[in-house]
């Protein structure tokens, strides 16, 4: 089995992402799978950024803590990461390529491609496609010639694609025929705004950046009421600003989809790092009692499908749908080769303003069936009961979708429970071992299957990228079952597969 981890490091602005991109694209063309983790501080120029690019002949969804190569665009990278090398690992610096200026990164990628033993033509095709600057081919030539072949990677027949979570959410929205996306830039979801904005005219949609998140969400409700299919995107701080309007959604029943990509918190926290700390927030944000749907995809392919389900459910029930992700899923690049389900049709069948003879009124006040305010006790109670009834209908409808997934050894008595972006590391850590992995995708409503699976297991282990084990708590609330074994990580970094494997061993 091939499994290589390549760390690419440098200052912000030196083009480390280009290195990962060139290597990834070449490897994908060569029939391999890749996973690219991005680690960068909130700095535009300078500082220290690095990616860990993992390559395998099997599908992977995480990186390892020790690497086989360090590709260094500056000296600092060597100092910081030389201890991350595996035994026999190597450092390649861009020193000898400095004459190529900004193309030094191309030379560095080429050097690694040679080491892997990949055909020069595949590399050159890629460089030609990616970088129009004429100096890039000279740099590629020099880089390629600077090394000798160490691995003779064979060409394979796999045909994977590369996708990050942000782009995948955008694809899911486009598959749902989104009309308008309202978003105020905030890491880690800014790239979703960029993606939807980039081709908006051809895509027949509009990406609008208003003066802030409060505006974004109220605009979205206004546009949705007028008959458009809308989504807002943000991260924790921006989401908190939207909360009053989420409650307005609950009262007015105007369809709304929210894409929430969490990062390290509380507050401004770690803007460019990852955490699963906002699950409680997504489940509860907004005053008063009203139904909602919270879905947490664990891979880009799931981002595409689950975003579409979020649109479908929101429109069908006049409900709030939240797609919950985090920096690790939103900004890491995953290869995948699974087929995406045919998108569900999202149709606006509501009465909207503009219809002759119809007056459509939606209200933030408790209201009668015409949308006119009331303080009547009987209507107040009936409306509250109807909101609960709507939730029961949502629960029924969600059963049509994959609310959980079972991975790993199907008859194992060792059950791992997790959600969202930890999926990749969990799958890689339990590969070939005696574990069953229950991935929760619907955080609300929660599947009844979870309890059944828990009752079948001997040992249950909760894996979450947060401090308090938030999924564990909601499972306990729903099932009465407490999960004794918890592997929690909350330093802003995602799990690596080897680290997780070790932690699992300790519990076993």
């Amino acid at each position: 089995m091939v499994m290589l981890n390549i760390l690419v490091g440098g200052r912000a602005g030196q083009g480390i992402n280009k290195v990962s991109e060139i290597i990834s694209n070449v490897l994908i063309k060569y029939g391999y799978y890749v996973f690219n983790y991005r680690d960068y501080p909130s700095i535009i120029r300078g500082g220290h950024n690095f990616n860990v690019l993992s390559i395998s002949d099997k599908l992977i969804g995480s990186h390892e803590s020790k690497v086989d190569f360090v590709l260094a665009l500056d000296k600092n990278t060597v100092d910081v990461h030389k201890n991350d090398l595996k035994k026999g690992g190597a450092v390649i610096t861009s020193d000898e390529f400095s004459k190529f200026g900004l193309n030094a990164n191309v030379a560095l990628s080429a050097a690694l491609i040679k080491i892997l033993g990949i055909d020069k033509k595949v590399l050159f095709d890629e460089v030609k496609k990616e970088i129009k600057d004429s100096g890039s081919l000279d740099a590629a030539e020099a880089g390629y010639n600077s090394q000798t072949i160490k691995f003779n990677l064979k060409k394979l027949n796999n045909n994977a694609k590369i996708l990050d979570g942000n782009t995948a959410v955008a694809v899911g929205a486009r598959n749902s025929k989104i009309d308008i996306y309202f978003s105020y830039p905030m890491t880690p979801t800014t790239n979703c705004l960029q993606e939807l904005a980039s081709n908006q005219i051809e895509d027949n949609l509009l990406a609008f950046q208003p003066e802030g998140e409060i505006s974004a969400v109220n605009m979205a409700l206004g546009a949705s009421f007028a008959g458009a299919k809308v989504m807002v995107g943000t991260s924790g701080g921006g989401f908190d600003l939207m909360v009053e309007a989420l409650s307005l959604q609950g009262m007015s029943e105007i369809p709304l989809v929210v894409y929430l990509g969490s990062r390290g918190g509380p507050s401004t926290g770690l803007p460019t790092y990852t955490m699963q700390g906002d699950l409680d927030d997504a489940l509860r944000a907004g005053h008063g009692e009203f139904p909602r749907i919270v879905i947490a995809p664990g891979s880009p392919a799931e981002c595409i499908e689950k975003t579409n389900e979020a649109f479908y459910l929101s429109e069908k029930f006049g409900a709030l749908s939240i797609v919950l992700s985090d920096k690790h899923l939103a900004e890491s690049e995953f290869s995948y080769d699974s087929k995406i389900n045919t998108p569900l049709k999202v149709q606006v069948k509501r009465n909207v303003p503009g219809e002759k003879g119809f007056v459509a009124k939606a209200s933030s006040y408790e209201h009668d069936e015409y949308g006119l305010s009331t303080e009547d006790a009987k209507i107040t109670k009936e409306n509250a009961d109807n909101r609960m009834k709507k939730y029961s209908e949502i629960q029924k409808e969600c059963k049509k979708f994959e609310m959980i997934k079972i991975h790993g050894k199907k008859d194992s008595k060792n059950l791992i429970i997790g959600w969202g972006s930890t999926k990749g590391a969990i799958l890689d850590a339990i590969e070939g071992q005696d574990y069953k992995f229950l991935q929760v995708l619907y955080m609300k409503p929660l599947s009844d299957e979870i309890k059944k699976e828990m009752l079948k297991a001997k040992k249950i282990i909760l894996v979450e990228n947060n401090l308090t084990g938030q999924l564990g708590k909601i499972i306990r609330e729903k099932t009465g079952l407490k999960i004794e074994n918890r592997i929690l990580k909350y330093d802003g970094r995602p799990f690596t597969s080897d680290e997780l494997k070790e932690k699992l061993e300790e519990i076993k």
Binding site: I180, F225, G227, A228, E244, G357, S363, S364, L372, S373
Partner: protein
């Protein structure tokens, strides 16, 4: 959601059958009547009733949502403006009127006011300015007279009042007007002009609050009507300066201060232009 057309009051088109709960004599009744007559008059001039949509903020002013029988959203305190802009982006063929208060627009939702002037969406903003948070029983707003003592500000409001017309002008509003709530005919006429304006039309409607800020009553004799003449930006600014909201002295011009043309938000976006040209909404767009 049922069709509220069924709730139309007999003999009073565009009014619902809900009885207004504004205080007796409150100018909000008169603003309602001006708005109702303005829309009726516009309908006679060819505008379609179904193409009107309203958004209200929260406050005494906002209650108009339950009384005026047009489609729309009874929104959040301070957020009527973004809700209305969203409605316009969601269907640029709608004629959207936002009904708000001074607490709503100049306090809680100030940022939206400034940006709406910049964005220039083709919609109308009415601000019922009673210089008081009245539904919360009378506290000072940004336009209250300096020194006003309320239960929550027993030492008096320390701040100089904001001049919202000067602010709107400098933020780029393309239509700036002021009315007196108790002059129903004039207010109706200005609302009609505002709706017809291609761009963001802002109408400040000064009104008294008989219960909490009766001092505002004193200003009647200061009010005078502007002529219809077209004005430069500087002329409009100078007129706006005539009244400082302290209710002590000066003159209070009412009428249209400033009117100019600039590309609207809808005209800037090709996607929205396309919908306008085809006279359809996103809902009808084949994708």
């Amino acid at each position: 959601m049922k069709n509220a057309m069924k709730r139309e009051r007999k003999g009073q088109p565009l009014a619902t059958d809900v009885n207004p709960t504004w205080c007796p004599g409150c100018p909000d009744h008169m603003i309602f009547e001006s708005a109702r007559r303005a829309v009726l008059s516009l309908m006679k001039q060819g505008y379609k009733r179904e193409n009107f949509a309203m958004v209200s903020g929260i406050g005494c002013h906002g209650k108009i949502f339950d009384y005026l029988n047009l489609s729309g959203i009874y929104g959040l305190h301070g957020r009527a403006i973004p809700t209305a802009i969203g409605m316009k982006i969601g269907n640029p063929n709608l004629k959207v009127i936002a009904f708000t208060g001074d607490g709503d627009t100049y306090s809680e939702g100030m940022e939206h006011f400034i940006h709406a002037c910049r964005f220039n969406p083709n919609m109308t903003l009415l601000v019922n300015d009673n210089q008081s948070f009245s539904l919360t029983t009378g506290q000072a707003t940004p336009t209250s007279q300096q020194g006003w003592k309320t239960k929550t500000e027993p030492l008096g409001d320390f701040n100089k009042p904001l001049n919202p017309l000067m602010l709107a002008l400098s933020a780029g509003a393309t239509f700036v007007a002021r009315c007196n709530a108790r002059d129903i005919e004039h207010t109706q006429k200005i609302i009609e002009e505002a709706v017809k304006h291609n761009g963001f039309s802002y109408v400040e409607i000064i009104q008294d609050c008989l219960i909490f800020n009766p001092e505002a009553l004193k200003r009647d004799k200061m009010i005078y009507k502007l002529t219809d003449k077209k004005r430069t930006f500087d002329e409009a600014m100078n007129l706006a300066k005539e009244f400082d909201y302290n209710l002590k002295d000066g003159k209070i011009p009412i009428g249209i201060f400033y009117k100019t043309e600039r590309k609207t938000l809808e005209e800037e976006w090709p996607q929205l232009n396309n919908l306008i040209k085809k006279n359809i909404s996103w809902k009808d767009l084949k994708k």
